[in-house]
Subunit: 549 residues, 2 copies
């Protein structure tokens, strides 16, 4: 068996290691265009910022180590130019010498990754404008930074854009982030990104939403970035982080099926339309675990698993990829945002019925010092309660709750299962009723109709009678327009003040007192509903609306 693997980073390197463990006598050739294999691409922004001090740390495995330990034929600085599927050969170009040669294969695994988008705008090729994919890109950015960069512009407010913003600020660079959409972190629902936008601004980052770069012009000391709004930003450094495009040209040139967004089509065994060719990682189209739709998710975790699965199948083992949940996380200064499964906007796009709840718990028991605020949004099927997705933003403990819910989604669990979860509790680590349990209680109460809830959007559109059950002090600091205030502890004595002929939307700060108020009123014959996630959720929605007005 002769296995040729194209691409030596996450998916390719995983496939190679797995292949060797399965087949000590196979001939395994690993072809990588760059000088490095298996490097830590998720660490690149942090070396730029200095948090990861040593560059060598990013070289998880060197080509030499990979050769020695796994007895691989590793060829770096080598590009696969074409595939001859009939002859089962690839044409390889040695980038140092320019020499081209052929290599035969029995099985081929494509793991070429995805390339950062670089739109053909005027001036895009000026010096000082970079993308960030590999260590060479990183080295160039650092070199530019060392030549005294005062201002930087990042185009794109996704994962890489915001990680870069944090790291440039860490280096004392004044940083502007330009984003075409009306929110940062587009995979998240808009309101969940309000705290991130706020954090960026509080750290001095200039955020320009609903704007895009139209043109770059050389200036005396850098680049002028002209936006579609007419605004011009001056910078000595521009980094494009507007997304990636699967490197699928090699595959499509060879006649392999490629999806509409450029991802190589594979089945659950990672096999392409050619039974001898597999593909893995950022270059492929995968199935969304929740929606069942094709998608592209350029993440390291799935790439690693896919590499393993492809190698299994090459050597006759039927292992299968279950689809991706898109579980992802980003740190933005001391804020953490993470998500798993489908977002609300995805569910709307695919026309999947859902309900949502928001909770705003502390990361651990409030009586123990250091608890941090968190907002957790849970999306679920309105009938069965099956969990469809979750997003959280806050500080410590966000990663844990999203991981827990990621497992629940994998297992096909419902919000009723969240109620029963038995998670580890000591006051430093959680609460006796963990945020995950709380989300389950609120969602299950909604489905059981114990606890009818309406969304902030409904309140803003329908303008029901609004009852604020917080204290007068809380009410005084801000409330829904036209709400009246009866503190929860006075409610039972003041029922006569409330209308019997109108729907009453009850709310508090986060939803808990609103829940009790709703229960009291409903049992007393009022048509009451709780405003899900309370005033805090309204604030998130409003913050986004204000930023975009």
């Amino acid at each position: 068996m002769k296995l040729v693997i194209v691409g030596g980073v996450a998916g390719g390197a995983s496939a190679a290691a797995r292949a060797r463990r399965l087949a000590e006598d196979a001939e395994i050739v690993l072809i990588e265009r760059g000088p490095d294999i298996s490097f830590a691409n998720c660490g690149l922004p942090y070396h730029i910022g200095g948090e990861i001090a040593q560059r060598e740390k990013l070289l998880v495995v060197t080509p030499e180590r990979m050769r020695q330990r796994f007895n691989l034929d590793v060829r770096v600085r080598s590009s696969v130019e074409s595939i001859d599927r009939t002859a089962k050969k690839v044409r390889i170009r040695d980038l140092a010498s320019g020499r081209e040669y052929e290599e035969s294969y029995d099985k081929l695994i494509l793991a070429p990754g995805a390339a950062p988008l670089r739109p053909p705008l005027p001036g895009i090729d000026l010096p000082g404008i970079y993308t960030l994919r590999n260590l060479e890109d990183m080295d160039r950015i650092i070199k530019t930074l060392q030549a005294n960069v005062k201002q930087a512009v990042i185009i794109g407010a996704g994962f890489i854009g915001l990680e870069l913003a944090e790291n440039l600020v860490r280096r004392g660079v004044h940083t502007s982030v330009v984003e075409l959409q009306d929110q940062v972190m587009p995979p998240f629902d808009k309101e969940m990104t309000a705290p991130i936008a706020e954090k960026l601004k509080s750290k001095g980052v200039t955020l320009l939403l609903r704007q895009s770069a139209e043109e770059f012009e050389k200036t005396a000391d850098g680049v002028a970035v002209r936006l579609n709004s007419g605004k011009v930003l001056h910078a000595e450094l521009v980094i494009l982080g507007i997304g990636v495009r699967p490197e699928s040209k090699l595959a499509s040139d060879a006649g392999l099926e490629v999806g509409p967004r450029g991802g190589i089509r594979v089945n659950a065994q990672m096999r392409t339309t050619d039974p001898d060719i597999y593909a893995v990682g950022d270059a492929i189209e995968v199935t969304d675990f929740v929606t069942g739709q094709p998608t592209q998710v350029p993440l390291a975790g799935p790439a690693n698993r896919q590499g393993r699965i492809a190698a299994d199948n090459v050597f006759g083992r039927d292992s299968r990829f279950r689809g991706t949940q898109g579980t992802a996380i980003v740190g933005v200064f001391d804020l953490v945002a993470a998500l798993t499964g489908a977002s609300e906007k995805t569910l709307q796009r695919v026309k999947r019925a859902y309900r949502k709840v928001y909770i705003h718990p502390a990361s651990h028991a409030g009586y123990y010092p250091g608890a941090e605020a968190m907002t957790l949004k849970l999306l679920f099927d309105p009938e069965t309660g099956k969990i469809l997705g979750a997003q959280a933003v806050g500080g410590s403990g966000v990663d844990k709750r999203i991981d827990v819910i990621a497992v629940a989604i994998q297992a096909g669990m419902t919000v009723f299962d969240l109620e029963e979860m038995e998670l580890a509790y000591a006051p430093q680590f959680g609460s006796a009723k963990d945020p995950v349990n709380m989300a389950g209680f609120v969602a299950a109460g909604l489905i059981r109709d114990d606890h009818p809830q309406v969304d902030v959007e409904y309140v803003l559109a329908e303008r029901p009678y609004l009852l604020d059950v917080r204290t007068p002090e809380e009410f005084g600091r801000g409330h829904f327009p036209d709400a009246i205030n009866i503190p929860i502890d006075d409610l039972r004595g003041r029922l006569g003040e409330l209308p019997k002929d109108r729907q009453i939307a009850v709310y508090c700060q986060v939803g808990q007192r609103g829940y009790l108020g709703t229960r009291i009123l409903r049992q007393k014959g009022f048509n009451a509903v709780n405003v899900g996630g309370g005033y805090r959720t309204y604030q998130l929605v409003q913050a986004i609306a204000a930023a975009n007005s």
Copy 2:
């Protein structure tokens, strides 16, 4: 409906709040023996140590707030003395006045908790000897500490004992911990507690295992604690943390069924043998979710859920408790230890077939600063791979991995599911192959027989041919007795040195190179197995053996 609830801390307070939300017009009487309800008992050691500075923080909900918000009849300093099941009345004693009176009920929920054990040893009632259950106990201990305590003895090295040890050390008290068993933290398997014992010693705690207190004697400035070993410890403060006994006398006096270890028997609806009486929390016997055996697990999380379930059933809703997994966590200085599901010793006791794997991963990607070492032990069914239990000890990220596996156990997942888990990865938070995935890979490899493994115990008992595939430097720092050393990268060239007629147990530091070595050898016709968890696991086993020799 008139509901009487006996006990107002975790389970009782949860039941009361839930009951009110379900039934606005019910009469709900909450009887609590102490002066406080719903206090943070898990926080008591941390107020003693000063980490939780304000005492009020521990009073999560005051009786007054509970009365007002939930319209409850809360009676503190009141003890229920007896139940007349025929007349459906309880006899209550007002502890302040001594007055006794009767209160009728339609439904009764018992949530009396569990009392710290206080064995009838000579001198046990001397001043300076305490248990820690409530704020009054805590106040007494703090008062004693303020009178200049230099030395303290804690009897019992369980959760409370070790949390107290940490907090006394924080106050500058020289602390000795006496434990009857041959390990600290008895719910954990012995080898997993080696790092905890080491941490305690490094912080100056004197640990006395396999010893028990036999007698207490008054001295000029405190107490002399005589151990069964003959050793005498002097202290101004002694705290007993040797376990708790369900407060089930009220129930058993009323003829309700009680298990052999004193827990009140209930069904999944939390109903006792009397259809009008429910019981919840530390006083009851529950079913172990993994083994199906009756057990007693005094933990706040399950108590809260049980309170909720009892209230549901009182008001005609069929909600059910699924049993407990015993998920628990403890912080011991900067070390964290957590577990969920069955331990190895429990599985042995109930004669349940299992296999185990150990991994020693970092809390997050090694290339990002601040990664902390962790040991994770996973127990699973040897045929199906169903997850039976997990334990972890380390620093940050231990809570997350145990919570993830707790959900996997709840969902009935297997080690093959762990392989596929899509957890949130950025270098600050995890690894592209998370420790949970790694544990799945190792366990699944074992079941699939790709990766036959033996335990350290087998190696020590059977003495197979031992091959150490680490570097000569690692080998030089310590190795299995009689092992020979061939570094993994030289192994392919030195196969001739190895026996074909003997089982070869391959090992490295944590198991990963051992795995590759095993794969190479097996494919070359050797009878090779990997020593699960490698030399690091051997060190844990040896540390415990040494401490007890």
